[in-house]
Amino acid sequence: MIEVLNLTKRYGDKVAVENLSFSAASGVVTGFLGPNGAGKSTTMRMIIGLDRPSSGTATINGKRYVDLAWPLREVGALLEARAIHPGRSARSHLWMLAQSNQIPRTRVDEVLDIVGLTEVADQPAGKFSLGMGQRLGIAVSLLGDPGVLLFDEPVNGLDAEGIRWVRNLLISLAKEGRTLFVSSHLMSEMAQIAEEVVVIGRGRLLTQTSMNALLENNQQSFVRVRSPQIDRLEQALVAKGAKVTQEADGILQVYGLAEAAIGEIAFDEKVMLHELAPVTASLEEVFMELTEESVEYHGTERSRQ
């Protein structure tokens, strides 16, 4: 269980995170969504105790990170790729971290195996590709077999194969009952693995909800209708309670009525249809809309003050 309460981080005049409160439940995958620069990384660094909050608290299983008895055995974190000395091997890197938390040496071999770096484990990490660096970062996070895992943008900069690998790993970690808190600026990534979502924009909480509720409440579906007699059809549709916007000349977006109902109305009105197509907004559009709205909302709120 990760709990963030009234967390604020200021750098001089700039506010990176403002009065942020949310929680990530135990045994659940919580997605941490927001556009780039929304304050996701800063928030995660404060949870891990790397950055000092200006005010507010962040706790993991009821404790501040700094107070954890064996940090690596309780919490695993991937905060930045390639945080390794280029002259040190992956095995040495893992072993030195393992020693500090009295994690047995055999576990180093285990995590190297899990992330598929066994064959290059004794080479200097300076030769590693971005994907290999990311795998090593994940190996570090798994070192203490922790129940809580934090991943900051785990698929950033990876190729398709790497993305698929990370996604499958996250899913299998979640199946083992671990608590996962995963940040991303890509909604589509999160939709595949997260049950819960925390969405932030400009350092503020926009919403915390289940992934399903987020999609249901925000996914705008409409039916695109094209007709040479569009004006007559529009009147009939509005009369039946539909919401209508004009997409282009002769094309309507119809909300609140399914395509079958629209077809029947057109038939009744003897209106010819050239197109009748249901359209579902993409996940990214949902996400954009959500974060954009918040930005506008905050803008007006500020001007009122």
């Binding site: 269980m1 135990s26 045994g27 660094r45 891990i48 105790g49 790397l50 950055d51 000092r52 299983n61 990170y65 700094v66 954890l68 008895a69 064996w70 940090p71 690596l72 055995r73 309780e74 974190a77 905060l79 930045e80 390639r82 945080a83 390794i84 000395h85 280029p86 002259g87 040190r88 091997s89 040495s92 890197h93 072993w95 030195m96 971290l97 020693q99 500090s100 938390n101 009295q102 570090v140 077999d145 922790p146 129940g147 809580v148 083992e176 009952g177 671990r178 608590t179």
Partner: protein, 275 residues
């Protein structure tokens, strides 16, 4: 594993008080020995200090008969054999700086602090691991320099033996001097966090500050010059204490004080700053 399970199963082990300092020390030792730059730097230290010291000493020995009487009278065979230390002190400083600045340069400091969030532990373990390594290396350099140097000083040039009064203390003191300078450099780098800037600061203290002090009126430079690490170095390698120098013991104690103060400031900043 679920978090609940983890709490139930492993809680008794946690009750012992979390990760102990010796685990962090073991981790820091692995950190130090698993990068090649450590071996290179210690090798450079040895080659510079012993090699250049031996070169200078053999020149002094072979040119003994051409020296002026005044030079011959003030010739200090102990200092002559240990002169390479003044080269070695730069190598040990770079090592001390790298012991922590490399973590900032590579980003491993954040991984290290995630593993050991008690920052005082991390710095303390670094100080112990680097301090002990630097002391061992410093003593090796000092004793090898001494014995090689005395071997090269052949008649008619005078030489001393390790049994000569005060010599053993001086040679051992040189090893300690190098170790303390390394720790001072480690402290500077903890404050400054950038390799190049920290090395510059360290070299300035050893080379530039003495020049500035020597340009001040002699009443001031004679009073304050003795507090400089470089002056302390001179008093350590010599059998005689100069008129404007502290004795070796007082000098080394001062260096301990400098290192403690600088490391203390570094530790305070490390604990407060964002990583």
């Amino acid at each position: 594993m679920s978090t609940d399970q983890q709490t139930d199963v492993e809680a008794p082990a946690f009750a012992r008080g979390g990760y102990p300092l010796h685990s962090v020390i073991a981790s820091e030792f692995t950190k130090l020995r698993t990068v090649r730059s450590t071996i290179w730097s210690f090798g450079t230290l040895f080659v510079l200090a012993v090699g250049l010291g031996a070169l200078a000493t053999s020149l002094a020995s072979s040119h003994w008969t051409q020296m002026r009487l005044e030079e011959q009278l003030t010739f200090d065979p102990l200092r002559q054999s240990l002169v390479g230390v003044f080269f070695g002190q730069f190598a040990i400083g770079v090592l001390g700086v790298l012991a922590i600045s490399a973590e900032y340069a590579t980003g491993t400091i954040r991984v290290s602090l995630a593993a050991v969030p008690k920052r005082s532990y991390l710095l303390l373990a670094k100080v112990i691991v680097f301090g002990v390594s630097a002391l061992i290396m410093g003593e090796i350099v000092a004793f090898v320099s001494f014995f090689v140097g005395q071997m090269l000083l052949t008649s008619p040039a005078p030489h001393v033996t390790i049994g000569t009064h005060g010599v053993l203390a001086s040679v051992a003191g040189v090893g300690l001097y190098l170790c303390l300078l390394g720790l001072l450099a480690l402290g500077l780098a903890t404050i400054i966090r950038h390799t190049a800037a920290a090395v510059s600061a360290y070299i300035s203290i050893l080379l530039v500050v003495p020049i500035i002090v020597s340009l001040l009126p002699s009443s001031i430079s004679n009073t304050f010059g003795r507090f400089l690490p470089a002056s302390i170095g001179h008093s350590v390698v010599s059998q005689v204490t100069g008129p404007h120098e502290f004795s070796m013991g007082v000098g080394l104690l001062l260096l301990v004080l400098y290192a403690v103060v600088v490391l203390g400031i570094g530790g305070y900043l490390l604990a407060r700053r964002d990583a």
